[in-house]
Amino acid sequence: MTMTTTTYSDEVVCRPRAGTLYDVLELILDRGMVIDVFVRVSLVGIEILKIDARIVVASVDTYLRFAEACNRLDLERDSGSTTIPELLGGGVAKSVGKRKVKRAAESVGDTVRKAVGGSDDEDTEEEAEEQEQPRRRAPARSSATKRRRAEA
């Protein structure tokens, strides 16, 4: 018989995963009996654990993504479709509606503009629209600025 791991999600799905290591890796490596006088294999460099929902990494990046997700939550409609892994993975970019992307880009853009003294120069990098990684927000600003002017 092999070990099974069951994950209980909101649908209470049972997902037996025979032979799965990572749910119990820390037990194999960190619990169990040791005999002091014996050698133990070095664990230097081991990448210890990856838990599925890689949540709550305390960083500015994470906070901003949570804020973005929070802002686009529509509480009146079904809002259960936003998953935390989606938030923290690269998948977020695909699921964000263009309107909301623009909104996020605008607010960042406004702040940046205030910070640098309000030059409204615009360039024409249309491809910036596809770049939503936080470190690439500067190009997104110009794109958003341009679109907002077009709508005005």
Partner: protein, 248 residues
């Protein structure tokens, strides 16, 4: 073959045999054997050169222990324990024999279950609905958008999600503790609000897992529960089984 020592998998009772098709660590897998010393015995194999915590070897270790657990109580060794030679191991077994035997008695007919709680995947909507402070920050961020407002909101959300998962996890641990013979806090795992192991009688396994499922449903808006088991009793080899009190 060069002598790299003896890899030790487990301590068992002397009367127990190796499971069929037992495979050890190393590539190709070493053949495990039993080294008997009085009433107890060690399951060992030749240690491979350059032993590291590879997936292959971790699995071999884990699967041999699982198979051994089917036939009787097992004291699982932590991964990677290597005795210098047979003589040294025999001395250790002789010296600690009484203690090991007592622990084996305590573990007989019992298995370990490990419970982890992480923030629920769909927790965000519930949080915003239920937490007035978060709702207020969200309104602020909407009316006066900006980096600072987003940062405040995001930080509050991250903190609240992990707090809610921890609260739910603690509650679940408390409930499950009443069904377990013992409970032990697991090592801290990043991203895990709760990590705890339970020592459960084999006869109670079904009831235990059913209860865990029910609790998971009750708390699904706060925490996602992951239950692994039945496992070898990694967390209960210390000899003195901790009293079944709640862990956080």
């Amino acid at each position: 073959m060069a002598d790299h020592g003896l890899y030790v998998y487990a301590v068992i009772r002397s009367g127990q045999r190796l499971p069929a098709n037992a495979r050890g660590v190393g590539g190709p897998p070493a053949a495990p054997r039993i080294l008997r010393e009085g009433a107890i015995a060690a399951v060992v194999s030749d240690a491979p050169p350059q032993l590291r915590a590879r997936r292959r070897d971790l699995l071999a270790h884990q699967e041999l222990l699982l198979a051994l657990s089917e036939d009787g109580p097992v004291l699982p060794m932590r991964f990677g324990v290597v005795a210098t030679d047979e003589q040294a191991l025999r001395e250790q077994l002789a010296e600690a024999g009484t203690r090991h035997l007592a622990t084996l008695e305590q573990l007989a007919g019992r298995v370990e279950f490990n419970l982890k709680a992480v923030a629920a995947q769909n927790a965000l909507a519930a949080l915003v609905r239920e937490d007035p402070a978060i709702r207020q920050l969200r309104e602020d961020a909407r009316h006066r958008p900006g980096y600072a407002a987003d940062l405040r909101l995001g930080e509050a959300v991250a903190t609240a999600l992990s707090r809610r998962a921890a609260e739910a996890g603690t509650h679940v641990v408390r409930e499950l503790t009443s069904l377990a013979h013992a409970v032990a806090a697991g090592p801290e795992v990043q991203g895990c609000a709760v990590n705890a192991s339970f020592l459960v009688d084999r006869d109670d396994v079904e009831h235990f897992t059913a209860t865990a499922r029910q609790l998971a449903f009750t708390h699904h808006e706060r925490a996602e529960l992951r239950l692994a088991g039945p496992l070898p009793c990694y967390s209960f080899v210390a000899g003195q089984i901790p009293a079944p009190t709640a862990v956080t």
